[in-house]
Symmetry: C2
Subunit: 181 residues, 2 copies
């Protein structure tokens, strides 16, 4: 069975409890989004495919007149998810515009290069703040892995901010003089 990455995100998100497409999107947005995103344009069509493949099962669960479908994982879906989890992770990518700009910063004045680092640092500090805001909610869960990943995210963003700070300092330092004695 050849499934998209989004398919596995969905399977993972309905593994513990049935969820609607909207709820899956919300769950992704305050957890995996930071290392694996998914939009409505991916989620709804994928739910239909997974349903046709028998890996999830939809059930009507309207709130009043507002139609709503919650999807539960099936036995086959659970098997599929576990099989995938056991494969060694394949993709690991980063797209960091700040590093790209820093890479080309020789085209700018030195103080402008420092400005790139400062902006990256601020962004990473913002992110770690936001992740900290999610921490208490996850701290109560029985499942320990989301919290582990979240704390990893916080540590990473702080590490990155620290690196930016060190590089800013390095660029401010007077260039080391080459002397013979």
């Amino acid at each position: 069975m050849e499934l998209s990455a989004t398919a596995y995100v969905i399977l993972g998100m309905v593994f513990r409890e049935p969820r609607s497409g909207y709820e899956i999107k919300a769950a992704v947005d305050n957890s995996t989004r930071f290392f694996w995103a998914a939009s409505y344009g991916q989620i709804y069509p994928e739910l239909k495919r997974l349903s046709e493949a028998g890996l999830v099962e939809g059930a009507d669960a309207p709130t009043g007149e507002r139609r709503r479908t919650v999807y539960a994982i099936t036995g086959a879906g659970r098997t599929e998810l576990r099989d995938w989890l056991r494969q060694p992770p394949a993709t690991a990518e980063m797209r960091e515009e700040g590093l790209l700009k820093l890479f080309f910063a020789d085209a700018l004045a030195p103080d402008e290069a420092i400005e790139i680092l400062r902006a990256m640092r601020e962004h990473r500090l913002d992110l770690s703040e936001r992740l900290r805001g999610l921490e208490s909610a996850k701290a109560e869960m029985e499942d320990p892995y989301p919290l582990m990943v979240l704390r990893g995210g916080i540590e990473f963003n702080e590490w990155f901010a620290g690196w930016c700070e060190r590089m800013e300092a390095q660029l401010l330092e007077p260039a080391p003089q080459k002397r013979s004695s």
Copy 2:
């Protein structure tokens, strides 16, 4: 002027010296690829667009009978690149399948979760080794930023590997007992 991200990668890559599409690809592959990739399918069409927009200029530079075009940045291209470099970096994304799997690892046995971390750690160590292999080449350059970014990449991958190691150890530890005294 609305340009794609690939356009700026190209402008940056031809800023210091004219390069062919093939050389741009090679340069990307052992530098920015780790945080910003580009394929032939993006580079060649984009070179044509940039050329039409007057931001780069192609010149025939065949090697024997083998046709070859090297592109040099124009004054307008330099201005465009610098304008972009001065904008605060907008996109910063990560797609890390290992973290996604770890996030869902509750569907597995504990030793299988450790295996995910071990695979991620190995991958990051491999990467930092490969980046170290590129270090000597960049150490001689006059332009200091590529080396700074490269060393950042090495440090990041080592930090990440260390985090994986710490998390592996945490999962191996006996669960802390809740005692009153």
